[in-house]
Symmetry: C2
Subunit: 144 residues, 2 copies
């Protein structure tokens, strides 16, 4: 079994792809049985679409890989605490385990929609939080 | 100016399209300056994708029509109270006015994420609620 740090590193690689494309750098991978079955990064500017968050891309991709709507046996790794929209999507997909890196005190679901996830979803926060937060800070610093 | 009932009737037509395709019947239209600039209906089964709710389709379509990410001047009409995910999307898009028909006490955002919308968003609930609820009831009755 590979560690949470291993998969979060892959999510951070997705976030760096977003960064390189001028997008707020957030990345996500969905893992089932140790295999990445969906990945994505923020594409809101590229697609002119506020719904194109990393998690939405990765959930859609994972469901296409599996051929089913539910991700109960999966872990979703994302570099930033999901927003309300993405927490709602994670809830609908019945994701079994959520691992996120940096917290988002302003827009994060733990503040705004603490019961959005499936009741059985296990949550781990803070894995590689410093790396993820630094990438976000560098992005916003470069924009000032 | 056409009435809210006029546009909700269009959203109900979208919901009926969903019904005819074996999807939970929810429909949505986005209106700017009296013109429908985005529409959608639930496609979760067809696309095997829990994120394919009516509102997500309609917001994405409206943003493509406008060529911008924000819908502050728009009214979004939907036949069922938005879920957490869709309320989050409506919030990100800064939709200026939300009109919904039937309430959803179990999954609706007013219970689970009451602050998900943009603070300036005006909300009207209950427009054609009976028609929307009846369509949903007929759907679930037929499935039993």
């Amino acid at each position: 079994m590979l560690s949470d740090t291993h998969y979060m590193t892959l999510a951070l690689e997705e976030a760096m792809s977003a960064f390189d494309n001028g997008e707020i750098p957030v990345g996500c991978v969905v893992v089932a049985d140790g295999r990445v079955i969906g990945r994505g990064h923020n594409l809101t500017e590229t697609l002119t679409d506020v719904t194109a968050h990393a998690e939405i891309q990765a959930i859609t991709a994972a469901c296409q890989t599996l051929g089913g709507k539910y991700l109960a046996q999966c872990t979703l790794y994302v570099t930033l605490e999901p927003c309300v929209m993405c927490a709602g999507a994670i809830g609908w997909a019945q994701v079994g385990r959520l691992v996120y890196a940096a917290s988002d005190p302003k827009r994060g679901y733990t503040q705004l929609a603490p019961n959005a996830l499936h009741p059985k979803c296990k949550v781990v926060a803070g894995v590689m939080a410093d790396e993820a937060a630094e990438l976000l800070q560098n992005f916003f610093k470069a924009r000032r």
